[in-house]
């Protein structure tokens, strides 16, 4: 029984400490290259906005999932991006956030800033 418990402890240390440590040392990113240009676009928007000002980002309705441009933009420029889904002429506020006083500027994903 003592041998059994010793083996169990050895197994626990191997799997609970050695393997995780190997994972920390060897973890590699899954590079999301397809969105590199998108990232650059969003970052480029940063200097165009002023503190407290919000810009609206129009994304297609079908992109309404976790991988949307707008959802990512919120991480890079939090509080300064409002994501709208463009349903024809009257874009419905995606986050249901009303425009700030004085209205907001609009940007489209292709990189054109629309005032």
């Amino acid at each position: 029984m003592n041998v059994m418990r010793g083996l169990v402890m050895a197994l626990l240390v191997l799997t609970g400490a050695a393997i995780p440590a190997a994972e920390w040392l060897t973890a590699k990113p899954a590079i999301d290259r397809e969105h590199a240009a998108l990232r650059d676009f969003i970052v480029a928007l940063g200097p165009l906005t002023h503190p407290g000002e919000r810009i609206a980002l129009i994304v297609p309705v079908e992109d309404r999932d976790q991988d949307t441009l707008g959802y990512r933009a919120r991480y890079l420029l939090p509080g300064r991006i409002i994501v709208l889904d463009a349903r024809g002429a009257d874009a419905v506020a995606y986050w249901r956030v009303p425009p700030p006083p004085g209205g907001h500027r609009q940007a489209v994903a292709e990189g054109t800033l629309v005032r």
Binding site: N2, W24, V97
Partner: protein, 383 residues
Amino acid sequence: MTRLGTAILISLGAVALSLCVVPWSRWAVVLVIAICIWTGFRRSGAFNFHWIDAITAALTGIYIWFATRPGLWEWMNWQPSRRDFFFIWGARARLFLDHHGIDFHYLQHAPNDLAHPDYPWLWPLTIDWTAILFGWNPRLAGVIGAVFGVALLLIVRELFADELGNRQAALATLSCIGIALPLTAGFAEAPYIAYSASGILLLRRRSSPAAGLILGFAALTKNEGLALIVAVAVALVLVGRSLRPLWPAAALAGAWIVVRAWLGIPTDLFAGDVFGRLVIHITYPAALAQGFTGSTMDQPWFFLALAIALLVAVRDLRKERFMILVAAMQVAFFVAAYLLSPLDVAGHVVSSWGRLQAQLAIPLLFAALAAGRASGAAADLPR
């Protein structure tokens, strides 16, 4: 050691919670930290150091290196596997920081299926007080997550020593490191595992209000913490113990539920036709089964070893029935949550089951080793 780990966990939670009421300024945060240190940190008992503890410390250093790698916090490179930080926990922390407070407007208007506004605030607020002190740097989330893990390891180290002797305790603590310091740096897993496992373990033998407070912080970190408080309460009743130590947990969880209801932020599990979803998922369980068969564990080999440890100690597990009951009820709550899920059930299970299991790993490991130690041949264990 237990006292030190408990003080660290309570202080981390208290400083984060204070941001709900104090100004978001460096001086206010420093003042709250000073109060926590003054009131919470007392002289800990002597620590019986073993050379194996040095390995644990070295591996913790490796983890901190991993968790502070600059690339790890670059969303473009790591987005597929680290989505929850970039789009939930980190995004919310940064949003609150820009807002100099909790952005209720955002929480009330963001759609639940993407932004999960019903997720508790304690972890984003923890990231925020480090940002108030040192400026916005996502890598601090990795460091502070490691501090949570270290606090948990300090607690389990002393509790294991009470049961197993010093060498076995050092080995058992070492084996917990992969769970206490998860690969998901920046997610709410590290603080939640620290709070939940510590709370359960501290209540195992004693009725400690500090454990109740820590369980309350668990409920303010992840929604699973609410179910955990219920599971612990039921387990305490079933083993014939008082519910009194849970009052801080009930107070914090109750406050969170009231605030969430007042803001009109329902959790998506209870939105819409709950009963209809339940009936459909029970009638057609194939999707649920598909999720479980398709899910991957975060630490599969460790869970295999844990299963073997539980099997070896199975005859004596009744001595640890409190923790076994808590774990069994938590699993039941997880399955119930899947049955109520408004999402694609198979996808929901696949994306979460591995992480949920990790939340219960340390209490189960403790139960297995403590019960094994309690068996007839225990006296021959090397110390």
